[in-house]
């Protein structure tokens, strides 16, 4: 099981390196452990995240791709769908089967035909378009809805801080 998982992860690493999607760099922290990756995602243009680079850690389960990885940002990301500890909460990272929320469609959820690339692209579009139906960060969600300007200021400030400026 574990060896088929790491084979699959290696294949995904290779295709992500050979043909990287725009604004995404991802790969294992060390090839000794294919189950821990680090990804860099560029902030989408035309959003307050523009110009930023956001590092995130991806932890894969031993039964990948049956179960999805967990993703956690390593810098502060002020966003309705990102927990205070950096963990990302979007439907593609949720296993199929149990759906306590009853609003996510099965097609949006994790399945073995999804991939790391699709996760990262989904996260990138999540940055641009938060889903405030299921906020992981309630305060950010409220601010995004009610005080958009303040929300964008915080995001821009975090972008600059993370770049060391």
């Amino acid at each position: 099981m574990a060896s088929s998982a790491s084979k699959r992860l290696f294949k995904e690493y290779k295709s992500l390196s050979s043909d990287p999607p725009e604004g995404i760099t991802a790969g294992p922290v060390s090839e000794d452990d294919m189950f821990l990756w680090e990804a860099l995602i560029q902030g989408p243009e035309g959003t307050p995240f523009e110009g930023g680079v956001f590092p995130a850690e991806l932890k894969f389960p031993k039964d990948y791709p049956l179960a999805p990885p967990k993703m956690k940002f390593l810098v502060d990301v002020w966003h309705p769908n990102v927990y205070a500890n950096g963990e990302v909460c979007i439907s593609i990272l949720h296993p199929p089967g149990d759906d306590p929320h009853h609003y996510e469609q099965a097609s949006e959820r994790w399945s073995p035909i999804q991939s790391v690339e699709k996760i990262l692209i989904s996260v990138m579009s999540m940055l641009a378009e938060p889903n405030d139906e299921s906020p992981a960060n309630v305060d950010a969600a409220r601010m995004w809805r009610e005080k958009r300007g303040q929300y964008e200021d915080i995001v821009r400030k975090n972008v600059r801080t993370s770049l060391g400026l």
């Binding site: 390196s17 110009g51 930023g52 680079v53 810098v75 500890n85 305060d139 801080t161 770049l163 400026l165």
Partner: protein, 193 residues
């Protein structure tokens, strides 16, 4: 006579089967008690839940009691995801029975309320420059910038050698961060001018 010749092998078979059955029964019950001892004892004194998991959930939901979190984890076998989903779906956590004790005392006394106020705390995580050790490369990048935008040469993207792969990946990461920083600095300069 005919009855007797039939009975002796039957009795012998019966005895052998009985002996085997009794031996099997005793050996089974002894291994059973061994295995149950070894598997239940540790779970009774230290359930599979650990303090880190409780802490993780408590940080996400400061309003929850640690005891309730521990009880929920205890009941579902330490599945953090299931607990968070349960909380998020609006179903509250059950109150643990009075006999239930949290296995290990939580390292921190109380969740910090500041983590849930509407003003976010200042960045506590190291920035990208520190994280990827890029401070030395910032100055050299600026130098190159003055000579004109350096054209990125067509680089190898995949290598059969694992160390080389690692280096390529690292360089791609660094370039991405440095490019973002350069762009931001340029924007600042334009804004000032």
């Amino acid at each position: 006579m005919a009855e007797q010749t039939l009975n002796i092998p039957q009795i012998l078979v019966f005895i052998v089967v009985t002996v085997l059955a009794v031996r099997w029964f005793f050996s089974k019950s002894s291994t059973d008690s061994n295995s149950s001892n070894s598997s239940t004892r540790p779970t009774r004194t230290s359930p599979r839940i650990n303090a880190a998991q409780i802490e993780q959930i408590a940080q996400m939901f400061p309003q929850l009691e640690r005891r309730s979190i521990a009880w929920e984890l205890f009941r579902n076998g330490g599945n953090v995801q299931a607990v968070t989903e349960k909380v998020l779906s609006g179903r509250g956590l059950e109150t643990p029975p009075p006999t239930f004790t949290v296995p290990t005392p939580a390292p921190r006394s109380a969740p910090t309320p500041s983590s849930h106020t509407s003003t976010p705390k200042p960045a506590t995580k190291p920035d990208l420059i520190a994280r990827y050790n890029l401070s030395s490369k910032i100055s050299s990048q600026n130098q190159q910038n003055e000579d004109g935008e350096q054209k990125p040469t067509k680089q190898k993207v995949w290598s059969q050698d694992r160390n080389e792969r690692q280096t390529i990946l690292q360089r791609r990461r660094e370039e991405m961060i440095l490019a973002a920083r350069r762009k931001m600095e340029e924007k600042d300069r334009e804004a000032k001018a």
